[in-house]
């Protein structure tokens, strides 16, 4: 069982699978999958991959095409060539510019907005001695 966690299964670009794919380890898909993917480890969806089905993984990196929902225990990463048509749910999310994404997203890593930085000396608008300072208006 420990060996399975380190082994990565691979579906190359010329392979087409119809049905559900299940694995406890990691998997890389570059081919076509018409069905669901249940992966206990991390999944990598290559640029040439085309998946029509849902994905349940620990973490996934998508560069190809997916028509279906994604549920990840940890992280979803969408590369710039990714095309995702479906809903996504994960703890963490990273999306590169260029992604095509239509669907709903449920990702909230912290559950709270980022804290404001500690107050510092104010920037350009305030303070004296700056040559290009316009003015401080008080009435």
């Amino acid at each position: 069982m420990d060996q399975n966690e380190n082994v990565q299964s691979s579906i190359s670009s010329d392979v087409e699978i119809t049905g559900t794919v299940k694995t406890n380890g990691n998997i890389r898909i570059d081919g076509k999958l018409n069905g669901d993917l249940n992966c206990g480890g991390d999944a990598t969806i290559g640029k040439s991959a085309n998946i029509k089905g849902n994905i349940n993984v620990n973490a996934v990196s998508i560069a190809g095409s997916l028509n279906g929902n994604i549920i990840a225990k940890d992280r979803i990463e969408m590369k710039s060539s990714a095309r995702v048509n479906g809903d996504i749910k994960a703890k963490r999310l990273a999306v590169e510019d260029g992604v095509t994404f239509v669907g709903k997203s449920e990702v909230n890593p912290s559950g709270a907005p980022a804290a404001a930085p500690a107050p510092e000396a104010q920037g350009d608008g305030k303070g004296e001695g700056k040559e290009d300072k316009g003015g401080v208006f008080k009435r």
């Binding site: 999310l93 980022a114 350009d124």
Partner: protein, 233 residues
């Protein structure tokens, strides 16, 4: 008698050296550089500096809305289209304010400021205070802080920024060119450019546009329609 001009003394060896230098420019003429060549050192006289160009700034004329660029930091400039003299200074507003203010720089409306009437026009506007009768127009970025009190009809901006710590809800459809979220924004965002959610930020509601970027650690609880222009074609 013929006057003889003084002639410079030129040795034959020097003449040969000069001719060879002009024709070949070989290392024989400069033996002292042989060592430098092999050791990776820079040859004396080589240009090793870097050229730094001043930053270009986009300026929107507050008279005719013409967009142009200037290089470097200036206090004022002239619009190339309408020839209006444009001030490019940063301003800070504290306390109550009534009247118009126009600049190509940044306007900072502080927490205790209240805009009672008039129009504030700036390249960038940082809103921490209250809009109570006045109006804000940002030609580029509008930054909404948590202490800002406003109605959405009171401002107009090209780009929107939500800084860290801010928790902003917009009820109307929010149409901007770019949106940058570091804090929390709940809105129906329609962008023509890039929507970015930084680490620690959270975007809720809807987002539609051609570009979306979420940094690792950014939150996204939206109904999304991100279609790059190439995909639409």
């Amino acid at each position: 008698m013929v006057e003889h001009r003084k002639a410079k003394l030129v040795s034959g060896y020097a003449a040969m050296k000069a001719a060879r230098r002009a024709a070949h420019d070989t290392d024989e003429i400069r033996p002292e550089f042989d060592e430098a060549k092999g050791s990776g050192q820079v040859k004396p006289g080589s240009h090793i500096g870097t050229t730094v160009l001043p930053t270009k700034h986009e300026i929107v004329c507050y008279e005719c809305d013409y967009i142009f660029h200037i290089t470097g930091r200036q206090k004022d400039t002239v619009c190339p289209k309408c020839r209006a003299r444009l001030e490019i200074l940063d301003h800070t507003i504290e306390g109550d304010w009534s009247g118009d203010l126009r600049t190509g720089g940044t306007i900072h409306v502080t927490t205790d400021a209240v805009l009672k009437s008039g129009e504030i026009k700036g390249s960038n506007v940082i809103l921490q205070g209250k809009i109570d009768g006045g109006r804000i127009r940002a030609f580029q970025w509008l930054e909404l802080h948590d202490t800002a009190v406003f109605e959405e009809k009171d401002f107009e901006a090209k780009d929107l920024r939500i800084p860290a710590g801010a928790d902003i809800t917009l009820k109307r459809k929010a149409m901007f060119r770019r949106v940058d979220v570091v804090g929390r924004l709940k809105a129906k965002v329609h962008a023509s450019g890039l929507v970015s959610v930084r680490t620690g930020g959270l975007l809720e509601g809807e987002v539609h546009g051609p570009h979306l970027m979420v940094e690792d650690g950014g939150g996204l609880k939206v109904k999304a329609g991100i279609l790059p222009l190439e995909a639409e074609e």
